[in-house]
């Protein structure tokens, strides 16, 4: 063969693989509103930056007449590319080829790119769209999943790992996304569950659709398995690209910095918070009034909305924000919000992202369901995560900081680097109403007009303790600040903390309450 014929032959071979499962299968994929594996990758990476590997890998199944079947690329695409010029490793399961089912060589392609990502210390993006284990390959498929989970764990906290669920992801397959840092889902396309509707129906008699059991909304809102929810694949890809701008390539680096922009003038920080501690407002307005360009990239927006987490920039640098949300459930801490915040704090700590905590919460959510759901061990996660974190940790107490919640929300006692409070902050063991009822129980009960006495005692307690100065007198608060100074002071505190270096006692690993 001449060189030219060799080249033509190569092109033909590659084109053959790029057809995936063929026109009919691609048509079906499109009918479900889904792009193909390669289209998805190309939509995420910078134009012309993608290189695919292992195109000619063939499956090794021989049982059940599999020996005669050709599966293009064994149902998965792997490669490298860049997103806004940051390098990434990617894999995308190809549903058009044998339903994206995972056999031995399919898994080996995935683990190859995972090993590559870890070795090169760059983020890994995995697009999941698979019917599950390739039954014909039996225990080899299971081995494949195990090898993937092991690598997810090994890479955890070293490189960012992103999972995108763009089709079914069922049974054991769900555990790879669950082990990664961020999970993206799309309405009507993503489906995740351990046991599908058919089995649930036959065994338990419960009739439920795939969407109601493990659709995108379920995981974004109820289970907390998903971090980002989108209405279309296109929106999802934009979210992934935005996320990449906020995080570093690996745990030894810092996220890229951007030009500093002042917050937008429409956010007037001093006008957002009602003076009455019992009235709500949207804490995200406060975040946007202090971040560069008023930009805030919220994570897990729909799950446990009583706490807000996400990234913004200050002085061009990525900052992780953790903030109580008075607008939802009065901003209480509960099982879900503790879980949500704790994991995010650990993410920021692992990837050198300073944490700013905005505090305004009345305490933990009362209720039998909370106690029985284990609010003790879930609540402990947030204490653990803040205590353990060694990145710069700065707290601003906006309004209420009561009881155990005060301690949990990155207090001085958990080694916060800076604690600031607004003048209307109330740092106390509990709110005036509760405290007066306990401290002055006898006086209230014995009074001629108990209600009038209660109001009087509440007011007395309020005057004496519902302020930041009792805590400031003990040095638990570093400075009481005016609201409009907040951004300036935070920028200063971040600058001072830039070279922060603290070492804890040496240990193999701690035992967080999970």
């Amino acid at each position: 063969m001449s060189l030219r014929r060799n080249i033509l032959d190569l092109r033909k071979r590659k084109d053959e693989v790029r057809k995936g499962g063929g026109d009919e299968a691609i048509g079906k994929q499109a009918a479900m509103g889904k792009l193909t594996a390669r289209e998805r990758i190309l939509a995420i990476v910078d134009e012309g930056s993608f290189h695919e590997y292992d195109m000619f890998v063939e499956h090794v199944g021989t049982d059940f007449d599999m020996g005669n079947k050709v599966l293009a690329g064994d149902g998965v695409v792997i490669g490298t590319g860049t997103i806004y010029e940051s390098p990434v490793c990617l894999f995308a399961q190809d549903f058009t080829v044998a339903g994206g089912s995972l056999g031995l060589m399919h898994a080996r392609k995935i683990t190859k790119i995972m090993d590559h990502a870890l070795k090169m210390r760059v983020p890994l993006i995995g697009i999941n769209d698979s019917g599950g284990a390739r039954i014909q390959e039996g225990v080899n498929s299971l081995a494949g999943y195990g090898e993937i989970f092991f690598r997810n764990t090994l890479s955890s906290g070293v490189i960012p790992q992103i999972s995108v669920i763009l089709g079914p992801c069922a049974g054991g397959a769900v555990y790879s996304p669950a082990l990664t840092d961020f999970v993206f889902v799309v309405e009507n396309i993503s489906k995740m569950f351990i046991t599908g509707p058919a089995v649930i129906k036959s065994v338990l008699g419960e009739d439920i659709s795939m969407e109601a059991l493990g659709g995108a909304r379920v995981h974004a809102e109820i289970t907390g398995n998903a971090h980002f929810f989108a209405l279309s694949e296109k929106e999802c890809f934009e979210q992934i690209k935005t996320l990449i701008t906020y995080i570093p390539w690996n745990n030894t680096q810092k996220a890229k910095t951007f030009p500093v922009k002042e917050p937008k003038s429409k956010y007037k920080i001093q006008n957002i918070v009602p003076a009455d501690a019992r009235l709500p407002y949207d804490i995200r307005e406060i975040i946007k009034s202090i971040t560069d360009g008023s930009e805030f990239f919220e994570i897990m927006e729909l799950f446990a909305a009583n706490i807000v987490i996400g990234f913004g920039r200050m002085n061009g640098e990525t900052i992780g924000f953790v903030a109580n949300q008075p607008k939802v459930l009065a901003g209480v801490l509960d099982c879900d919000s503790s879980d949500k915040a704790a994991r995010f704090i650990r993410y920021c700590n692992a990837f050198n992202i300073p944490i700013i905590t905005l505090e305004d919460m009345p305490g933990y959510l009362p209720g039998v369901d909370q106690e029985h759901a284990g609010v003790i061990r879930h609540g402990a996660k947030i204490l653990y995560a803040y205590s353990e974190a060694t990145v710069p940790k700065i707290t601003v107490i906006i309004r209420k900081a009561y009881g155990g919640g005060y301690i949990a929300m990155n207090s001085r006692h958990l080694r916060a680097d800076f604690v600031f409070a607004w003048p209307m902050a109330e740092i106390a063991v509990m709110g005036p109403e509760g405290a007066a009822n306990i401290v002055f129980r006898k006086e209230i009960a014995e009074a001629e007009d108990p209600d009038a006495m209660r109001q009087q005692k509440i007011q007395e307690y309020k005057d004496k303790f519902a302020n930041p100065y009792v805590a400031a007198a003990k040095g638990y608060i570093d400075e009481v600040i005016e609201p409009q100074e907040t951004r300036k002071i935070l920028l200063h505190a971040l600058r001072i903390s830039a070279s922060k270096d603290v070492q804890g006692p040496s240990k193999k690993h701690g035992l967080p309450p999970f």
């Binding site: 459930l329 009362p366 209720g367 009561y402 509760g434 405290a435």
Partner: protein, 108 residues
Amino acid sequence: MAEQEKPQIIIVHSAKYQTTYTKKYENRKVWVEPNFNHINSYIPGTIIDILVKDGQKVAAGESILILEAMKMYNDIKMPFKGKIVKVYVEIGQKIPKNFLMIEIEPVE
């Protein structure tokens, strides 16, 4: 989700806070004191066999009913020495979780 017109109230330490509920909070299970005289199904399934009749006295630990669930036969036993007050299910009946199957009462 949390976007609602009417403000809702959360009470923490006697203080009433104006806020909005989440769907999960609204759908939370309200706790009810368990009634130990009610034998409820702890899993959905099918009644395979009923081994007792109304009014019968039964010793603690004796089998009173077989419930098939997850392809397993679950042997439901008498939790204490007592009497069968009423059997609420029939053989072959499919029941959901937490379904009252048999009512009992202790006897001395």
